[in-house]
């Protein structure tokens, strides 16, 4: 297993040195370093990996493949470029060209099957530098220019530039129907394709190319495994790995290890080679249980071996630099109504706990039937910073029933994925198309007032105009998304995903574009609800109640970023009349804003045979859109971050955790069916011991009982975080929740760390 790439530290910076032709280019390195969420760039290269733990930690942080088996990423990029050029010259259908790109990687990339690991390795390890990404980007430029009307593109661009919204074509939120493809395995998927395919039809030809490449890829792993086994005949791990790959080459998974291997293969085929994200790794305990029980009954494995395989399975994603984390579904309810948490759940939680990984993150489905031991174990892990969130089965079912007419069984088998999302398994190839900035209409209205172009005589008319503009922006966002989603299959045909979706094969539709039985959903996300409510209440207080300033002068103060008005700014910043304190006026205003946003979105048809859904989380847009938003009357300065998800503005929730939960009861997952999340930061003193566990569980249960869909905890004191900032070397494994995902503390920027410390200080205030 030769190493051909080396990184060196030069004067504190990282540089790549080409030890052979297989190294990343300097330009590529620079690109990666500019990418804030790529946390691989500063990792030290490990020259000679001799133990399993180092191997799995480094596996997706550097190239660990056997260079003699195939091509590295730069070489693959050249191959793909050639395929695209010749396909274009021959007038080949794009999806066939893309299938060939996939096949070239599966059949020619460098690989390895190491005795140090339970899973294969591939040279396309870096999710920020995949050969297929450039191909898709280039194709998107061409297709969008040719097929999306110029007026739409211009409106889209302008909104992105001025911070009205942030929108993009999304290929990152899809999940295959694991329940359908696991019993088939790859050969079963091929057989199903054969039943549906029409000879000479390029749609099916492209699927066939991808299918054969998947199988050829497995053949290559088997051959490499056997080669390494010959030189490591004592390696039980390697022997088992080859046996598993051979079983998967011949049919459906037989053992629990086969299931993990199948998930591994499909994930990397789809996400790393085909450029379509695989945004959930199954409901892990539910899927593994029958296989594991059969393995134990047949004496095929031991619990110890299963634990080691699980550890390596989780570490595959623990090693990948995925800022957003890789979700794993967990728990839930069995068909007979009993809880799905069982002996396998315990083992998986134990292993996850021991690994202490930021990712994969566990999205745990909980319900009244969830046993006490599972609650205690998961909450205990959450308070020790393990990456785990709690999704309520009951509130999510209400939302799915309302917007999809889902049955109880549909809801029971829902997929949990992404940051906090839930969706039916036969509609799970959905997208997050746009983020609407709730602050922007206020900024524009005050700007118009400051220039004498508009005025509103009372707060009611100001509020009505705000809601009208928010509705306009949301509608525009939806209309733009409708247009740019028409061309998704033209840009990035999803051959792997189509092979995994029977409905798509039978109806000759691209699975990602519009091939799910219920159509594919498109989500539009809310950004800055809390700050918008605070800002509206501040306008009311300053301009209409106390009449300290006219609307025009308030607009002027905002344009001047509060200069000359520091006393007023501080007062507004510290006003108790804010979203998050269960203040009835703030709650009512928040509900009106949410309802206005949701009414423009929910249930409206999209271009993918499905519907639009309003969503309450905003990923990282509370920072990015904050940077594009001027000062606001709640005391926020220009460019500062705005409130995250449905949470209060940082520092605004002075009434504590219970008031915060009750504030969010102002609406529910039925109104925001994309998700209705609550990020809750708690001081360690309220989480100690059994009392702490009970308190945390009560918060989750009341939130779910009030219609919230998912809650996650961050448990830190400001002192602890300050110490971590000062002594990063002592906190290598410290993780914090960002927004539905965990990030290692040391991977956050100084600015983000400071923001976290301020949050923790705010939590401290009540103690």
């Amino acid at each position: 297993m030769p190493k051909t790439t080396r990184r060196m530290f030069i004067g504190g910076a990282v540089a790549f040195a080409a030890m052979s032709g297989r190294c990343g280019s300097a330009a590529a390195t620079q690109r990666r370093q500019r990418c804030f969420f790529d946390t691989t760039w500063w990792d030290p290269f490990v020259e000679d990996i001799a133990d399993a733990d180092t191997y799995i930690r480094r596996k997706f942080r550097q190239d660990v493949t056997d260079g003699s088996t195939g091509l590295d990423v730069p070489a693959l990029k050249k191959v793909l470029s050639g395929i695209v050029s010749s396909g274009r010259a021959a007038g080949e259908p794009w999806r066939v060209t893309k299938a060939k790109c996939f096949a070239a990687q599966a059949e020619r990339m460098a690989i390895d099957v190491s005795p140090l690991d339970w899973f294969p390795a591939i040279s396309v390890w870096n999710r920020w530098d995949r050969p297929i990404s450039g191909v898709i980007r280039s194709r998107a430029g061409e297709v969008n220019a040719a097929k999306i009307p110029a007026s739409v593109r211009e409106k889209w661009r302008r909104g992105n530039a001025d911070g009205t919204w942030n929108m993009w074509q999304d290929f990152d939120h899809s999940v295959p129907d694991w329940r359908a493809i696991l019993p088939l395995g790859f050969p079963g998927m091929k057989e199903r394709l054969g039943q549906c395919a029409v000879k000479g039809d390029s749609f099916y030809d492209s699927c066939a190319i991808a299918m054969e490449a998947m199988l050829a890829g497995i053949d290559r792993f088997i051959a490499q495994g056997k080669k390494n086994l010959a030189s490591n005949p004592e390696s039980v791990r390697l022997a088992r790995e080859v046996e598993s790959l051979e079983r998967l080459r011949a049919g459906a998974p037989v053992t629990a290890y086969d299931v993990m291997m199948f998930v591994w293969l499909y994930f990397f085929y789809s996400e790393h080679l085909d450029g379509i994200q695989c945004r959930s790794l199954t409901e892990l305990d539910v899927f593994l249980t029958p296989y594991y029980d059969a393995d134990i009954a047949a004496g095929r494995t031991s619990e110890a071996e299963f634990r080691e395989q699980l550890k390596h399975f989780l570490w595959q994603w623990g090693s990948i630099s995925n800022y957003w984390n890789q979700p794993v579904g967990f728990g839930g309810t069995n068909a007979d109504g009993t809880s799905a948490y069982n002996h396998v759940s315990r083992i998986i939680l134990d292993v996850m706990d021991e690994c202490a990984l930021a990712t994969p993150k566990f999205l745990a489905k909980v319900a009244p039937n969830t046993p006490d031991w599972a609650w205690d174990k998961m909450l205990d892990m959450a308070r020790r910073h393990r990456s785990i969130s709690f999704i309520g089965e009951e509130p999510t079912a209400l939302a799915l029933k309302k917007w999809y007419g889902a049955s109880d069984e549909d809801c029971r088998t829902m997929v949990v994925k992404g940051c906090y999302e839930f969706i039916l398994r036969d509609a799970a190839n959905d997208t997050a198309v746009g983020h609407v900035n709730f602050l922007k209409p206020i900024e524009k209205m005050l700007d118009e007032a400051s220039r004498g172009e508009a005025d509103w005589p009372d707060f009611e008319s100001f509020r009505s105009e705000y809601l009208r503009r928010l509705a306009d922006a949301t509608n525009s966002c939806r209309e733009i998304a409708f247009e740019f989603e028409k061309v998704l299959a033209d840009v990035n045909p999803a051959n792997c995903m189509t092979l995994a979706t029977e409905h798509a094969l039978r109806t000759r539709r691209d699975a990602f574009a519009n091939g799910c039985p219920r159509g594919n959903g498109s989500r539009i996300l809310a950004v800055g609800l809390g700050t918008a409510v605070d800002a509206l209440l501040a306008v009311k207080e300053i301009a209409y109640e106390r009449r300290e300033m006219t609307l025009a002068s308030l607009g002027g103060a905002m344009a001047g970023n509060w200069k000359g008005h520091e006393a007023l700014r501080l007062r507004m910043l510290r006003s108790p009349r804010k979203w998050g304190n269960n203040d009835q006026e703030a709650n009512a205003l928040g509900a009106a804003v949410i309802n206005c946003f949701a009414a423009q979105i929910n249930g409206k048809p999209n271009a993918r045979g499905g519907i639009f859904l309003a969503s309450g989380h905003c990923a990282r847009q509370y920072i990015e859109l904050g940077e594009r938003t001027g000062a606001t009357p709640d005391g926020r300065r220009k460019g500062d971050e705005i409130s995250k998800n449905l949470s209060p503005t940082m520092g605004a929730d002075t009434e504590g955790a219970t008031a915060l939960v009750q504030t969010l009861a102002a609406s529910s997952a039925t109104t925001l069916p994309g998700d209705y999340p609550l990020d809750m930061m708690l001081h360690p003193s309220v989480c100690i011991g059994d009392k702490g566990l009970k308190a945390m569980r009560s918060l989750v249960e009341v939130f779910h009982a009030n219609g919230g869909s998912v809650i996650q905890f961050t448990v830190f004191s400001a002192e602890e975080l300050r110490d971590a900032q000062k002594h990063p070397e002592r906190y290598e494994n410290l993780q914090v929740r960002v927004c539905g995902w965990n990030v290692r503390w040391n991977d956050l920027s100084r600015k983000e760390q400071d923001a976290y410390i301020r949050r923790a200080e705010n939590v401290m205030r009540g103690w």
């Binding site: 009434e655 009750q662 309220v686 009970k694």
Partner: protein, 252 residues
Amino acid sequence: MKTPLMLDTKRMAIWDGPGIRTTFFVKGCPLKCIWCHNPESIDSGAQWARFRHLCMRHERCTMDESTCPTRALKLYGKEMSIDAIVAKALEDKPFYDRSGGGVTLSGGEPLFFWQWAAELFKAFKAAGLHTCLDTSLYAPPAAIDALLPVTDMWLPDYKAHDDALHMKFTGVSNSIIRRNLERLVAVGAKIEVRCLAVPGCTDGADIAARRAWLNSIGVDDSSIVDLEYFDYARSKYLALGMPDTMPPKKTD
């Protein structure tokens, strides 16, 4: 009936009795503990505090808490009716129901206003709320009589066993407190006694003496909680213009 001014309301309190609780603090206390971490709770009248480190010395300072930009001005002690207190407590009832929690009355010294406290607790019970009383037990027997039927759990402090120490550091004898503790134990009231070891004051032999006496009257160890001392309240003494009497916390 003496009615107290209210100091503060703390929601999501999990260390003031079982489950998630809301704790209400009254203003006014007959004791003068030198280590008091709520010096604003000693005087029963309203008090202004000015936190100098927060004050921006605004040229147009109106001395109005609601408009102070930095919250440097704080008015301690506000009127709050029993109905308003119960309404506030009920906001978190779903959390009490899930966690086995309820309401706690603290201070100051709630039994300084025992007739009012009994009325409040009756209202809490009528609303179906679990009640805890955080008290020094420095109160007449009539106060215990009035509160016993409506108090689900008592959280008494036992500050010092040696009466000379008690006198020296709190300003009052502990004889009344001991009689009330004995009474609560005798009638089978549910109690959790809190013992604070203050460096240089009550951290010596008195710790063992307190526990031994409590055991002797029938308080078992599981009902005794040792509390850690912190000296975090110095800024409040300064803001109130009170002499800072807090002993320093010993550091290792």
